[in-house]
Subunit: 203 residues, 2 copies
């Protein structure tokens, strides 16, 4: 028996629409990488898996008004350069510290997206037993990579040796952990952290 | 032989001045508790002992001007309530998370210095293996206490049972870790964290 929809279209459990569904790109929703990570962190927090927050943007406040009967208003302030990374928190008893970076490049990730103080901060945390990494997004292709701190530090130092100022996508595919967008969490980056913990021998 | 200073005063290695020195209160320098902790954190960072930073104050930015050839100026912004605690970082491979609170009270610490969301945040971090605590200062007497999260949660819950809205100083002396100001670090609060780790059986 052939079943049709009321509008006369064929019903088929394997029709084109359901095939399309399986290739939905959950990442392509006009959100910034920051919003995507915040959503993922909210999921992890809600499930009791991890407590990881974005640090607020550091601001130098110059002038504040205190109007009567209403909230204080900041009237003059400036953006300060952050001295650390954007995200930190705890997962599986471990201190987690990372930065999220986007590039519109197609084949490589430019190292000038990082600042020396961010690298130094991650190196200090790594020394004390923290898990540090960078979450890198190629926005043109919606590709995501987690690059472990030790590998990031290697590429960072390399630019001062042979002068290469970027990490090729091929290198990210070899040394990083590629992630796919999914529904919940949108960016399952703690899967990569699990692998980093495994690769460290559970430490 | 009697040695005198050029102005005729007696020299003595045990004179009053050197006795006075031993009772200098390093905490009584007109600094806020936040400044004192930041100084202590700078010391710990510099020595490679811990990486612990204060999170920036969260701000809701409403209006920003972008003048030509100069830095962006925030023209309207509001203070937001923080959803977490003030400080976090890593020490001895452990995730550290704490808040710093001052009171002008003399004999007890009022629990309304805390908000439910801060307590909830610390409870979530504790569950995942983080070390959470509160650093409490009695400003009139320059007394400092570290109160471990589990004890703080006990007193927090108690207010909903028998209605006591504060922690007495006696209770802090019994269940907390009393700290003394010193030169470096100004507030040696990681000594108390070491004891918390010991009391947890090294975990």
């Amino acid at each position: 028996m052939t079943i049709n929809y009321p509008n006369g279209n064929d019903y088929s459990p394997n029709n084109k629409q359901s095939k399309k569904k399986s290739t939905i790109n959950y990442g392509d929703r006009g959100m910034s990488l920051e919003q995507e990570i915040n959503l993922s962190n909210a999921y992890y927090l809600n499930k009791g898996i991890a407590v990881i927050h974005k640090k607020p943007t550091p601001i130098q406040i110059v002038k504040v008004d205190y109007p009567k009967r209403s909230a204080a208003v900041i009237k003059e302030a400036y953006f300060k350069q952050a001295s650390t990374t954007d995200y930190n928190g705890i997962f599986k008893e471990k201190y987690i510290d990372f930065d999220a970076k986007e590039t519109t490049n197609k084949t490589s990730f430019p190292l000038n997206n990082f600042h020396q103080h961010q690298i130094s901060h991650m190196q200090q945390c790594s020394k004390l037993g923290g898990i540090c990494f960078s979450l890198i997004k190629f926005v043109k292709t919606n590709e995501l990579f987690v690059l472990n701190g030790t590998d990031l530090f290697f590429y960072w130092e390399r630019q001062y040796n042979d002068g290469r100022k970027s990490i090729s996508k091929q290198e990210l595919e070899n040394s990083g952990y590629k992630l796919s967008y999914q529904i919940n969490p949108l960016i399952p980056y703690l899967d990569a952290v699990d692998k980093i913990i495994d690769d460290n021998g559970g430490k």
